[in-house]
Amino acid sequence: MIDVQRIRSDFPILSQKVHGKPLVYLDNAATSQKPAEVIEAISTYYREYNSNVHRGVHALAEKATQAYEDARGKVAKFIGASPSEIVFTRGTTEAINLAAYAWGDQFLKSGDTILLTLMEHHSNLVPWQLLAARKKLNLEFMHVTKEGFLEEAEETIRRVKPRLLAFTHVSNVLGTINPVQNLDKVAHSIGAKVLVDGAQAVPQLPINVANLDCDFYAFSSHKMLGPTGVGVLYAKEEILRRMPPFLGGGEMIKEVYLRESKFKDPPHKFEAGTPHIAGVIGLGAAVDYLDQAGMGNVRAYEEELTAYALKRLGELEGLTIYGPPSAAQRGGVVSFNVDKIHPHDLATVLDEEGIAIRSGNHCAMPLHDRLGIVASARASFALYNTTSEVDVLVEAIEGAKKVFKV
């Protein structure tokens, strides 16, 4: 059970006022707020044992290395993987680029097809465009129905016969939860590899990559109560072992000679240079926090909250909600438009009431094209949001309609 008032007290930023009103932070799909435990973990590291990892034998170095690798273990356990399958990156975007360069360049050849979807975030689209240009590959796209589901996904996989299927677990615009397990099965049955963008999913759903059986899974620390500047690429051990390095440099090498080097085993092979040690430690603390809350509880709470939001927003006249009609089919992301009010203007008026929503194309221009719009407003929830905050949102939208006389 989520005790939301107790949870809210763990997040220092939530107690502030914006334009004289209590902050109502509904932009969690963009980034999540951090509990005091995470902030403390990071500042404690810097205050007490900051040291470079993996190389020193002195006390501080040992402590920092231990904390860094402990965090790796925590993240692995959190998603049902083993530590050697967890590569730390700068974020989801870098994780996907890592897969595109270190796996794609090596294992895809001219004429191969990558199958994506129309609902992808630019970070799970542009790296494949760049790869396709480099290697002369075809890009195909699964369509999205009016209700926000993937259209004929399994048939499309069988028809297109891609070498790689890459898609989002939870859409950052529509909120749609895609059937990862089913799509993985179909893709594997035709010999394709699968990369899943889990940036929106990991903060909201219990994840087990062994059950999902995807080959790659990418996500970000900062969307799951952790600091910015850290992300994770999970990849099956046998895949990582066959991949050449991504970035080269210190930390990922065993031996270095003038004209060649021997590389470490995964995951360290893919972590060149001094990592964001504080960030990884912070991510470890975020995992601890979410573990304590229980991801099953988080999902149950957010599903209820999203259902409430869909109901209340659905009562407003002239408001169009995008994505699946029921909260059971979606994560805590609700994108919408109010007739005759541009999302930017709506977001500005809501800001005056202390409400933070996002407006624009949410890094998903092709999806907005498909929806026939240029921009939308988006409210997205985390485990510290409340039904009262949804009420404040709805009231403010009604107020905005009066300001714009619609």
Binding site: I341, H342, H344, E352, M365, V374
Partner: protein, 138 residues
Amino acid sequence: MDIYRDEILDHARHPRNRGKISNPTHRSRTPNPLCGDMIDLMIRLEGKNSWVKEVGFEANACAVSVAAASMLTEKMKGKTKKELRRLREEDVVSWFGGSLTPSRRECALLPLKALQEALAVRQAHRPEPSRGKGGEEK
């Protein structure tokens, strides 16, 4: 709310000079890179001093951009090309009474950007499509 005070809202809801003009001599379709909003600004300059005979715009944009376009095109009427070039960002920003946040500033400046881009390129003079007997456009 300053940014949406009555005067600005009036320009947003009843924009002046909205619509196509015939035979524009200068034109620019300019997007706002931050959000994909788009403004299509059309100007017809005539005469020895190249003064603004007619101006119009189409926009798929927020209230701030539309209001800015409405106010800008009103200010443009009767000005010479030289005078148009002297319109600055600070002028546009001042119409909003200092209420623009940095991100909304980009919205307000979109029409001015379109004007500067339009002036940089002279449009080839094209006659309007004439109507055939059955009312079809040629």
